[in-house]
Symmetry: C4
Subunit: 269 residues, 4 copies
């Protein structure tokens, strides 16, 4: 706990120079993100690794709670190693406000461009979680097989990077143009597959986006298994809508578990 607090303070102090005028001691800087948000962002990096949604690659961001034209995300590194001092602030063109001399994710444009296009989005996960990859390279449609993944909707899009970056890209969303194209394919949905690459998940909070990234992966695994058995009864459009509303209200239940386990493991690191 002591170490966690230190890390969060570390972020706040490190982030200090971003603010033009230093505030007097005791007055929380109105431009600094809520320390609780940083704590959750750090925890979410570890949770996504613990859940197998990310491995050494993948990233999660959150929109700045004091400035909707900025977002927060770690420097370029493995999510499972992220601490508060690794969190940087970016504008919506995905420039780091202060990179602190650190390398940035080549694909940070995924985040900036979606935040631009979707004012309702507060948190974004990009991952290569294993079960969703096959659906991104197949003609089979990913569909909600149970209530937990209703958030995906019945019309999950697939982003084909060849449409925007040509036939010889390295598959990475390495500039704003590709990011904007991805945001357009995502539209008003919560989840999109990326052919030959992975997926992107959006939500209105860190717990919700982690929940969604996890259950998208579960749905892909379960749907693949179900299809091997024969014809599958998916959730209907009406069921999908109703279940999405219900499960959106339940995201704190697993989040409390996941965060507690990640924090405990973090204390042991």
């Amino acid at each position: 706990m002591r170490r966690r607090t230190a890390l969060i303070l570390g972020f706040c102090l490190a982030a200090g120079p971003v603010v033009a005028e230093p505030k007097s001691v005791g007055t929380p800087d109105p431009k600094l993100p809520d320390p609780k948000l940083i704590e959750d962002l750090v925890a979410a990096n570890h949770v996504l690794y613990d859940l197998g949604v990310v491995d050494g690659f993948g990233h999660i961001s959150v929109r700045h709670d004091k400035d909707p034209t900025h977002y927060l995300m770690s420097r370029s590194m493995a999510p499972a190693l992220v601490e508060a001092g690794d969190i940087l602030e970016y504008d919506l063109d995905s420039n780091a406000i202060d990179a602190k001399g650190q390398a940035l994710f080549l694909e940070r444009f995924i985040h900036g461009e979606i935040y631009k296009a979707r004012p309702d989005v507060i948190a974004i996960v990009h991952s290569h979680s294993p079960a969703v990859i096959p659906f991104g390279v197949s003609e089979v449609k990913l569909q909600p097989i149970f209530h937990m993944s209703a958030f995906m909707g019945i019309d999950v899009p697939v982003f084909e990077i060849r449409d925007v970056a040509g036939s010889a890209s390295d598959l990475l969303v390495r500039n704003a143009g590709i990011g904007a194209a991805l945001a357009e394919v995502l539209g008003d949905r919560n989840f999109a597959l990326m052919r030959g690459h992975g997926a992107v998940t959006v939500g209105s909070s860190i717990p919700q986006v982690v929940f969604r990234a996890y259950y998208a992966e579960q749905n892909a695994r379960l749907q693949a298994e179900a299809m091997k058995l024969g014809p599958v009864t998916y959730l209907s459009a009406e069921e999908t809508a109703a279940a999405a509303r219900t499960t959106d209200g339940l995201v704190m239940r697993p989040w409390e578990l996941w965060k507690r386990k990640a924090m405990k493991a973090n204390g042991e690191r």
Copy 2:
């Protein structure tokens, strides 16, 4: 160990107000559940998580040992975090006797309605364990592939919520009517699939219901694999009946292992 005792005492004290007249010290309250039952219920919550039967969702209940018209189950929370103080008492209409200001599981009616319909049932698990989901959405029948899952019988039912809640439900068993319909589909069996949702398992004790929920999941995984190889020889009806009788006598063997591991891990939390 010390912490565990404290938690159990915590439950007993917390549960105290449920009883009208306080008893004098030293006389065990005849209406309080056996502390051993609470200990097993808490352990079972953790065991089900350790075995992958539940994740952040799912629940287990046990009929009150002093009052068959009541049952015990945690408040609404992730099973892996349940402690004795989280256990609440419910009547068979699934009203909490004293909710202690806590949120309750939306689907507690699964438990109350089955306890009503099945006097022989002492413990119930509801889960979304991954391997059973595909069988709930497929036309393929779940069948005992080895002796350990003979308890399922050769005629595993599938509960289709559309039959009772219409075509636009959120899939949840969120009232007594749906719960009663599920209990009717379950009939006198030990296990039922729930389409687009999960499964329900019943038993005559906590160790038995945990054993059954675990081996239902194993059977689903093994059957799916076997079917991919080609035609499968399932247990015959006679073998199923004989093996179910035998394995019912063996449930304490894995339970001792599972509980010891869960208790040890709990002590480390």
Copy 3:
């Protein structure tokens, strides 16, 4: 380490009464098993659990090093909980020499009858390891897909209990007659599938039989995956024979790893 020694001494002392005349201190009893053998048998119980070959069920035995008409195996319990004091001695009719009031495995006849039929066999594992179950209920033949599982040979038999116990058995090898029938199906091979139940593995040492039980499971998993891709090139009969000879000389390499990890975890229990 200290605890382990105590456990082994515990066995020796507990086993004392089996011997007619107590020996003077300092003279190792010529009829007591080598403490190193007990240590390996205990370790093997834990290793098989760690490797996923056994869960709460399954058992491993070893022929008594001082008396080939006796064998050693734990009382009826989950393998992962076995300590030296739980090891009992059995004759080849699977009577415990001194049951110490403990329950015995219903299926101990698997061990006694194979030891009778196969003087070359020193150690036996019976398990329900998950990947082999589908091959036991399918018409597809389990075959060596890589050198590590060459010990299985190219003609893995399947024991159909209906042939000996009729159409209404509980699938268990619960008497000497069924055990003898299983031994006959096994013949001079190292591995046999048991329909609707599991498998039996034999070897000339504890490390070897653990190696074989583990790689039989791996082979089943890999073969199932390979068959889904299309036609498979299996090891030829000649390759199988050559590779079996080679890998038999390599069993100590993984055993050292597995035993060390099990012993370390045991020290932490």
Copy 4:
């Protein structure tokens, strides 16, 4: 940390006799490998085990940084147990410079012969990682399904040992002739399957070869799943080339994670 340093010193002292003339204290021997290289080689042994690329079998080598005609690899043992004192030095005919009385890997010729044929190769992994085995025994071609495995190229070769060792081999690369044949099949690629056996991965550094061995395994698993869904869109030749260039620049990101976890676990052993 202290233990790790001791182990590295242990290697340096043990390796001392290899050098003809002892150097005075304080002057690093120009022929001794960089202790950092040994540290990474030891870590890589543990990382490959943690990642499931190796089990009790498999090996990793690195070309000697001071002498390109020598390479470094452990004695014959399970990778997860390797410490610095277990690392031996070999010439390119795979003779140990000083075997220290230890058994050597029968298949060390894989390493020597590839180092001979490929001056650009600095590190080599040989493994039986589970998902690649089915592709080695099938007519289906392993192909890059996502950017992470672009290093494999679109033309992954399969080494058929029957072509060089005849129809009755034990599948092992047990001499220089078979090793040279494997190196020829590998050609200028980074990855080759070995029928009925496993695979070999090469790279220009330890972090890169570990990255490649891990993502070859992931690709095999994901491709097998994708093929079950139906037709698959693989990376094109151009995308493969571009993505391989990009991901080669990203290997340190997971390596930092993997090494830190392995080192921490090692400190706990």
